[in-house]
């Protein structure tokens, strides 16, 4: 734990935490700038628009499927979530499509945030209750559940918040849990044989592409890849033990892994990729602000004061 670092400012020796419990708490709540929250919120809620239209379109298909084929998950039986009738599917679809863009610009962060979380959760129950459960949304669901707890956050705001810090830390933990526990699940369901079996061959034969079909002829490559996948998953928690300089490279490696997976077997893990941006200094990406600066320059107006304009000086 000694090397555990955070996004927070370094503390001075005088107020450095003394025991492990204090350190853990400090790590769990290490503050994050509100501008990062605003950026992540915009990204996550805009993603939902694409998600319901394209990525989880299969849920919308259920508007015509008789509910006799609906096999509720445990949570759908315990909690009073409605059966996915045509009406329920349409309410979720249009509700998410209309509310998400409003939440993306930061309106009513709590009210809209909770509403979207409930609608999206029901959308996911529809998506996953017909015989197949997808595993790429745990961290994204955690993100949607925690974003409303942060409250208001403005783009470009450098004020640091512990509320935001905690939410981001838990989202990050959920991202890494998805990897680490996936390795665990492989060993639980597949056993050690998973390493030298043909799971990847199955995946390629069923959903392969021109990028991956050639691998079928090279069994050693399949096996090496399988060992590589498990190693990567088991080692993923290392990201919590590296410093701010190295962390983006590891995140980059994670994204690269998903790019290769997508090219090979067209599984993208898109919602997980969105949740993973919580590891990055998102507040530095400000397309609208840059556009405004460019516009001002073109009109010959002076630079806007009190804005971080480091990379727009030219």
């Amino acid at each position: 734990m000694a090397e555990m670092t955070s996004d927070a400012d370094r503390t001075t020796d005088a107020d450095a935490p003394r025991n492990l419990g204090d350190r853990l708490m400090r790590w769990l709540f290490s503050p994050v700038p509100l501008g990062r929250v605003a950026a992540f919120r915009t990204l996550a809620y805009l993603f939902i628009v694409w998600d319901v239209l394209v990525y989880s379109e299969a849920a919308r298909l259920k508007s015509t499927v008789p509910t006799e084929l609906y096999v509720p998950l445990n949570i759908g039986q315990i909690l009073p979530f409605p059966e996915p009738t045509s009406l329920v599917v349409h309410v979720c679809f249009w509700g998410l499509l209309i509310l998400s863009p409003l939440a993306a610009v930061g309106l009513f962060p709590r009210l809209l945030g909770w509403s979207i979380f409930l609608l999206y959760f029901e959308w996911m129950l529809i998506f996953n209750s017909y015989g197949k459960v997808d595993h790429d949304r745990f961290a994204f669901l955690v993100a949607l559940a925690l974003l409303p707890t942060i409250g208001r956050a403005k783009h470009g705001d450098t004020t640091k918040s512990e509320k935001a810090g905690w939410a981001f830390r838990v989202i990050q933990l959920a991202v890494i849990a998805t990897y680490f526990l996936a390795a665990w699940a492989k060993l639980r369901f597949g056993g050690l044989e998973w390493l030298w079996g043909t799971s990847l061959t199955w995946a390629i034969l069923r959903r392969g592409t021109e990028w991956s079909n050639w691998m079928l002829d090279h069994v050693w490559l399949i096996k090496t890849s399988q060992v590589g996948i498990i190693m990567f998953e088991l080692m993923s928690p290392i990201i919590f033990f590296v410093n701010d300089r190295i962390r983006p490279y590891i995140v980059g490696y994670f994204y690269l892994f998903h790019l290769v997976t997508w090219l090979a077997i067209t599984i993208s893990f898109a919602p997980h990729l969105i949740a993973m941006t919580t590891f990055l200094p998102l507040e530095r990406v400000r397309p609208l602000h840059w556009a405004r600066l460019g516009f001002d320059r073109a009109r010959g107006r002076p630079k806007r004061p009190a804005e971080p304009v480091t990379d727009a000086a030219g």
């Binding site: 096999v71 949570i75 595993h135 043909t198």
Partner: protein, 143 residues
Amino acid sequence: MDVGTAGRRTRVVVTLLLAAAVFYGTLWGDDDDFPVGPFRMYSTSHELNEPVADTQMYAVNSAGEEFQFTESLSGLRRAELEGQLDKFDADPDRLAYLAESYHNRFPDRPQIDQIRIVIEWIELHNGRPTGNTSTEEVVSWQR
């Protein structure tokens, strides 16, 4: 900072509960425990000479035309079909709901009178596809 003692305590409890739930899911749970079920994507292992299954569905409409009954026509994804295969096998009349789904989606097209689910088995030898495949009809339904 902006989190008081009570807020801090609540957040720690939420963190621990979430962690407990997801560890429980991974250790003892199953897909039905969504969203905290085990992350078991492609987690089953297969032997090197075990054939690979690819499940497909075909339908015949009242005009006698046969076509592949894909996800966008039936409303059910391939993986969902596979997940419910036991149920269709036990009660082939459940396939009538898919004919109904098709009719709801395309009220102007001729109705579906027959549906069959087939598995295409792709043979492997030492982990490599041999090029041989065989098809097995697993369930069929007729109006």
